[in-house]
């Protein structure tokens, strides 16, 4: 194993982590402020990807598609909040899970009805095509570097939003005492809609960014959703900082596990078996890490204050 390969894998882990962060940030924000478990977050990710693919195919520009993905996901989020989610805040978590699970099915079938079952085409914009050389003689795709940069920008933007703006102040207040900020005259219903739309927009952005790298198809959100839940459980539900660290931890652990476990096993068993067992073990690794972290810190790395 060379240093270049290790560096490349580390970047891959970082990129996967950043992508998970975009998903997890919205999820944890919504849980932190409204106490709502939103299983349909993966559907908003899908909406973003489909919006980007469709608009990019119409206009020929990925960038317009990206803007459309933000707008469509935010709009879909706001609409869902106004029509359905709003009625769930006072219910217990089981009702929320059932209702948002129903939303997943409705979104999936709706998308299939609109776009069909075959994956859509969405390509990386010309500006970000290709690969750049890295120290150590290897190359790395420009687009993945761009995703890392976009994730860092979003993390910074969220930090600024929450710590430096009036909206952020209200979000923090909403996290620590819901009734009190209502009593102080803040329009809590609008705040909830805005937060939900913001979370949805982040998911839509992730969907569009990842859609260009993977495939834009119905049901693409659910595998990511599961990972995003792992991330927020590790990070501490409701904590953005926890989501960032949890996402990076999961991204790097998963990538390194897939890369190293078969190699380590190959020292003991024949390569074909090492590949098979190593591959299976690598897919369990993040759940093992989650179990270990929860054993030591049952509420995650950065438990939110009110929980």
């Amino acid at each position: 194993m060379t240093l270049a390969l290790a560096l490349e894998q580390l970047l891959n882990g970082l990129q996967l982590g950043v992508m998970l962060f975009l998903m997890a940030a919205g999820l944890t924000l919504i849980f932190g402020v409204m106490g709502l478990i939103n299983l349909a977050h993966g559907s908003l990710y899908m909406v973003g990807a489909f919006a980007c693919a469709t608009v990019a195919a119409w206009t020929g520009s990925f960038w317009i598609g990206l803007v459309a993905s933000l707008a469509c996901a935010a709009a879909a989020g706001a609409l869902v909040e106004l029509l359905i989610i709003r009625r769930l805040y006072d219910r217990d978590h089981l009702d929320q899970v059932l209702a948002t699970f129903a939303l997943i099915l409705m979104f999936s079938e709706g998308m299939r009805w609109l776009f069909g079952s075959f994956p859509l085409y969405l390509d990386i914009p010309p500006l970000l095509q290709g690969a750049v050389p890295l120290p150590g003689g290897t190359e790395y795709p420009v687009y993945r570097l761009a995703i890392i940069a976009a994730g860092a920008a979003v993390a910074f933007g969220l930090y600024m939003l929450i710590s430096r703006t009036r909206l952020g102040m209200r979000i923090r207040a909403g996290e620590s005492d819901r009734e009190m900020i209502g009593a102080l005259g803040v329009d809590i219903r609008t705040l909830y809609t805005v937060v939900f739309a913001l979370g949805a927009a982040l998911a839509g952005l992730a969907g569009a960014l990842v859609g260009a790298l993977q495939s834009v198809q119905v049901g693409m959100g659910e595998p990511v959703l599961i990972l995003a839940f792992v991330v927020i459980v590790i990070g501490g539900i409701g904590s953005i900082k926890g989501a960032l660290l949890g996402a990076l931890l999961v991204g790097v652990t998963d990538t390194m596990g897939r890369f190293l476990l078969p190699k380590i096993l190959a020292l003991f068993v024949p390569p074909a078996q090492a590949g098979m067992i190593g591959g299976a073990a690598a897919s369990m690794l993040i759940y093992i890490v989650m179990a270990l972290i929860l054993a030591v810190k049952p509420r995650g790395l950065f438990p939110a204050a009110h929980a």
């Binding site: 194993m1 060379t2 270049a4 390969l5 490349e8 894998q9 891959n12 882990g13 990129q15 996967l16 999936s108 079938e109 299939r112 079952s117 075959f118 994956p119 859509l120 085409y121 390509d123 990386i124 095509q129 290709g130 690969a131 290897t138 190359e139 790395y140 795709p141 420009v142 687009y143 993945r144 990842v210 260009a212 790298l213 993977q214 495939s215 834009v216 198809q217 119905v218 049901g219 693409m220 595998p223 990538t255 897939r258 890369f259 078969p262 390569p271 074909a272 590949g275 098979m276 190593g278 591959g279 299976a280 897919s283």
Partner: protein, 378 residues
């Protein structure tokens, strides 16, 4: 006069034999119509229904249900179809892990299973069954063909497949024929969408060729990411990796990729041309390899039903084994384990009139049989 009447009756019965059977036939189709693998199931269903429609037969009913690519759901649907719908034949499953959950119990209950795609090794050898037919291939076949092809100009191959029965069959099949060195053998998760870690290993492996078996959305993700990675090693795979269901979504990143298949849209025979024209007319798109396989499965069932009743399993099975159909593949017959003996070709992804499709390059295997038939005692 009597003779004349008899002759007329006979002539009439012959001319209508394609239109009606002695008894109605009920077929249960379980396939993947939702989720990431839906494209494969939809092509399966459409190919199958095209053959049924072309036959104009009113005595065949097909009940279709979506398994959502979940084994437990497939088992429930199969039970329901056998017990309450009372189907005679089951078909349509795309994935080998689902087939393993459904087919053995269906044949144990005396129902025929005619597979349109999934063909795990476990059902081709010692555990073959006289009620289980495969109209597609045996899982290893297309991979064996790529192993044979790789011998020509590649010395060190990096091979990769998902960790499920068909994935293991795939790499086993490839290695059965490939004589060169293996740079690495990697199994990924089923449904994995990010291949950065694997592509990095390919780059560092020093391989001169890459073989990937990644059906459906997995292949789309891999090819797009591979094209961006700057790795210049040639990629090849079995036909599924570059089949018509995924090519439009992969885009130009697939151009030039070599694959193996038992059919490609440019096949020059009457049955293939008719199939291609009918399919495009009916559905407005190019058919994939899955559609051809399902089309042939339906043709096989119809050909047997025209001559025997499905209630008489021995007679029906004997008619199925004759494989009296005009397959778009050109040649088609069954081996002793009721899996196909067929030619396998090398294809290349090309762009024709702005549409990505597969073009036949050369024949790799003639009358290819699978490795498990010798263990099957029917």
């Amino acid at each position: 006069m009597k003779k004349l009447l008899a002759a007329a009756t006979l002539a009439l019965s012959v001319s209508t034999s394609g239109l009606a059977f002695a008894e109605p036939l009920k077929i249960g189709m379980i396939t993947t119509l939702s989720g990431g693998g839906a494209g494969l199931g939809i092509d399966t269903r459409d190919g199958f229904m095209l053959a049924i429609k072309n036959s104009g037969n009113k005595d065949v009913t097909v009940v279709t249900e979506d398994d959502a690519q979940k084994p437990e759901l497939a088992v429930q649907i199969a039970d329901k179809m056998i017990q309450s719908d009372q189907v005679d034949i089951l078909t349509g499953i795309v994935w080998s892990n689902l087939l393993m959950a459904v087919a053995p119990s269906a044949v144990a209950q005396g129902k025929f299973y005619v597979s349109t795609n999934a063909a795990p090794a476990a059902l081709a050898g010692a555990n073959c069954n006289k009620l289980y037919f495969n109209a597609a291939y045996q899982n290893d076949n297309l991979h064996e063909a790529m192993g044979e092809y790789a011998n020509k100009s590649y010395k060190k191959m990096f091979i990769l497949a998902p960790n499920y029965p068909a994935g293991k069959d795939s790499l086993t099949g490839f290695k059965r024929y490939y004589k060169g060195e293996l740079a690495s053998e990697v199994y990924t998760q089923v449904g994995q969408t990010d291949y950065a870690a694997e592509i990095a290993q390919m780059r560092a492996s020093g391989a001169d060729g890459i073989f990937v078996f990644l059906p459906g959305g997995m292949g789309i993700a891999f090819m797009k990411q591979f094209a961006q990675s700057g790795v210049k090693i040639p990629v090849m795979g079995p036909g599924f990796s570059f089949s018509q269901d995924v090519l439009p979504a992969i885009g130009d990143a697939a151009l030039g990729a070599k694959a193996s298949g038992q059919w490609a849209p440019d096949f020059d025979n009457e049955a293939s041309k008719k199939f291609l024209a009918d399919f495009q007319k009916e559905y407005g798109r190019l058919p994939s390899i899955y559609a051809v396989q399902a089309y042939d499965a339906a043709q096989l069932i119809l050909s047997a039903a025209a001559k025997a009743t499905v209630k008489d399993a021995d007679a029906f099975g004997a008619e199925l084994r004759k494989a009296d159909i005009k397959s778009p593949r050109g040649k088609f017959k069954f081996n002793t384990n009721q899996h196909p003996i067929q030619d396998i070709y090398l294809t290349e992804v090309v762009k024709q009139n702005g549409v990505l499709t597969n073009k036949t390059v050369e024949k790799i295997f003639t009358d290819h049989k699978d490795a498990y038939a010798k263990d099957c005692k029917i």
